[in-house]
């Protein structure tokens, strides 16, 4: 049976702070929480739309060089953007592909965790390590609460870039 909550953390574990998404997933794994599935990949692509099927809620986690520290938590809407033209897609574009192909997507949130350095072979930076701790605290709270209003109270940014045009 498909778990109602999907948490999808993505990034390359060997590229410095790009590991933030997969590392947060590793932390969550140790908690053995019910009713959720944890998935990871290097990057998002269009077939990940299939992972969203039959979910009640989805949370993407990624490292970000541009968000506020320690993290930004927002609600996502489907959005057609230029990431369609790359080997790498944004979560908004994955939602848009889902909407076009399969109908209304599940409620989706995006946790961007601030990173600093993304070079191959680098360890996590000290700043990112601190941000990871803060993000993990948030994740624990989110996993402990199930209602939509409860999740909404943790939203840190109303990001106009994720609204439909």
């Amino acid at each position: 049976m498909t778990a109602p909550l999907l948490i999808f953390g993505y990034g390359n574990p060997s590229r410095g702070d790009d590991a933030l998404g997969p590392l947060l997933l590793q932390r969550l794994e140790t908690l053995n929480l019910p009713h959720l599935e944890l998935l990871t990949d290097f990057q998002l692509q269009v077939e990940h739309a299939l992972d969203l099927q039959n979910r009640e809620r989805v949370l993407f986690i990624d490292a970000s060089i541009s968000c506020t520290a320690p993290y930004a938590f927002s609600r996502l809407r489907p959005q057609k953007d230029a990431s369609y033209t790359s080997h790498v897609m944004s979560p908004m574009a994955v939602l848009h592909a889902y909407q076009e192909l399969y109908g209304k997507p599940p409620l989706t949130y995006f946790l961007k965790v601030r990173g600093k350095s993304f070079e191959l072979g680098e360890p996590l930076s000290s700043e990112a390590a601190a941000n990871l701790e803060a993000a993990f605290e948030l994740l624990q709270k989110l996993c402990a609460k199930s209602s939509l209003p409860e999740w909404e109270q943790f939203v840190t940014v109303f990001d106009s870039s994720v609204l439909p045009r």
Binding site: P13, D18, V46, D62, A82, T85, A97
Partner: protein, 493 residues
């Protein structure tokens, strides 16, 4: 004329157009064009602007970790690096994998070929091919494809997912799999997993066949455009089996020149450096390999689907071989040199991968527990496979403590470096020379590069890190216009 337009005679007096990064390309590349006041092209270059540092990343690591580590070099073809490194490690542990292990690896590799080719064709290239190279940029993407050709978009997603499932079940995980180990495999395929994959293989075959039909139709209907677009003649290199068959997992190196004459054949790849040399150029981080016997100027070559289809004597699966014959007949019986013929060749290979998966799934060896061989330890290992984009070479040397002391990787995109530069020069001459530049025209350059499906191996994708920047600099060196496209697709000046 391989090096015409590589370096302008008087670059200081020319305006510069920079396309950075090239979209629908993995990693970070850029194109620069130097134009005079009449927009005539004097120089065209495809640059790699990021130093990858792979070899340094691997040095000092225990060799047993390498097959897993190298998967992190590239987010789009981790399986190819995993397999090439593992073949090198087979040499180091002195063990040829037992037949069951080799078949499991082949199955994994065919899953990788299927998913990678599906991504490239359905989601990165078909928007150009179906809507036109200069069509509205807002439509020329997968979103436009989904809106106007939903069945094709769905098939692309399903094919890619099927390939990923083959990888997951053979490697043990969706990503960072540990199924392949030096000397063999750590796991077989369960009966349940085999049955699960068999359930969909007929559909995968049908869709793959439809994809060949689609590109064949598109190509045939625009034969003059497709044959001439960014085209030139070149040598080709690929692995072939002992009997001359296409073999994407193992074989000897074969190179043929632009006239189809054999340069070398059935070469043992463990001494590839006797045949290939890598040249460094000051303006690019990516090396320029060439065939030693033909020298720097004449020895460059192409790898990848087009090279493999042209080089092999036959494809060892019936449907794909029939399509190969049609492809050859279309090209007049000899190697087809058109840049855009890569797309057609790629879909024939995807069909071959689907057929090979079916064949392997009916082989009971996949269920065997005889999966590992080891022998006398060696200090050097070379592994070569035909990755989706072309020949992939991994070369390692270890010390007595079993740590990597030296590594050399030649990826398909590096082999194709000179060829991609040549393609953009041809397109610049054909379509841009003397013209007012538009987004549509600049996309022509990208269409030529994308035919190779270059993978510049940058798995970093942190939000906000990949803007597109185009600068126009006048003949006095002053920037007159700048347009930036952010990673969310919004434009600003």
């Amino acid at each position: 004329m391989p090096f015409e337009l590589e370096t302008a005679a008087n670059p200081d007096n020319l305006q510069r157009v920079v396309i950075e990064p090239v979209t629908r390309v993995e990693g970070h590349g850029k194109v620069t064009l130097l134009l005079d006041a009449d927009n005539r092209v004097h120089q065209a270059r495809f640059h790699i602007v990021e130093f990858r540092g792979f070899e340094k990343f691997i040095q000092g690591r225990p060799f047993t970790e390498v097959p897993v580590l190298v998967q992190r070099l590239c987010g789009i073809c981790p399986v190819s690096h995993n397999l090439a490194a593992s073949k090198a490690m087979d040499m180091i542990v002195g063990g040829t994998p037992p037949p069951a292990a080799e078949k499991l690896r082949r199955l994994m590799h065919m899953g990788q070929i299927l998913q990678s080719h599906a991504l490239h064709f359905f989601h990165l290239s078909s928007p150009d091919l179906l809507f036109g190279f200069a069509a509205d940029a807002g439509k020329r993407n997968i979103a436009g494809l989904v809106a106007d050709f939903p069945d094709i978009a769905r098939q692309g997603i399903a094919l890619r997912r099927y390939g990923q499932e083959v990888i997951r079940l053979t490697s043990g995980k969706r990503v960072h799999g540990t199924g392949v180990i030096p000397g063999g495999m750590s796991r077989n395929l369960s009966q349940d997993d085999r049955d699960y994959l068999l359930k969909e293989i007929d559909q995968v075959l049908r869709w793959s066949l439809d994809a060949v039909k689609l590109i064949k139709t598109i190509y045939s209907e625009h034969a003059d455009l497709y044959n001439g677009f960014g085209s030139y003649r070149s040598s080709f290199m690929s692995l072939v089996r002992e009997d001359g068959a296409m073999d994407l997992y193992h074989g000897g190196l074969r190179a043929r020149d632009e006239h189809g004459q054999t340069i070398f054949d059935h070469v043992d790849y463990s001494r590839y450096w006797d045949y290939i040399h890598e040249e460094v150029k000051s303006w690019s981080y990516m090396k320029f390999p060439f065939i030693r016997s033909h020298g720097r100027e004449e020895g460059w070559y192409r790898v990848g689907p087009l090279a493999r289809i042209n080089n092999c004597d036959f494809i060892p699966t019936p449907l794909a071989d029939a399509e190969r014959k049609t492809f050859k007949e279309f090209g007049g019986g000899s190697a087809t040199h058109a840049t855009l013929a890569y797309h057609w060749a790629r879909m024939i290979e995807m069909l071959h991968a689907a057929e090979a998966i079916e064949e392997l799934l009916y082989d009971d060896d996949l269920l065997s527990d005889d999966l590992l061989n080891t022998g006398e330890r060696q200090l050097r290992g070379v592994g070569v496979i035909e990755a989706p984009r072309g020949t992939l070479i991994h070369h390692y040397r270890i010390n007595e403590d079993e740590q990597i002391v030296r590594a050399n990787l030649i990826v398909a995109t590096t082999h194709n470096n000179q060829a991609m530069n040549e393609a953009i020069r041809q397109v610049a001459l054909q379509y841009l020379d003397g013209q007012q530049l538009t987004e549509g025209l600049l996309n022509y350059i990208e269409v030529a590069i994308r035919a190779f499906d270059p993978c510049l191996s940058c798995a970093t994708h942190a939000v906000g890190k990949m803007p597109l920047e185009v600068e126009l600099i006048d003949a006095e060196g002053v920037m007159t216009q700048r347009l930036i496209k952010d990673s969310d697709g919004r434009y600003r000046t």
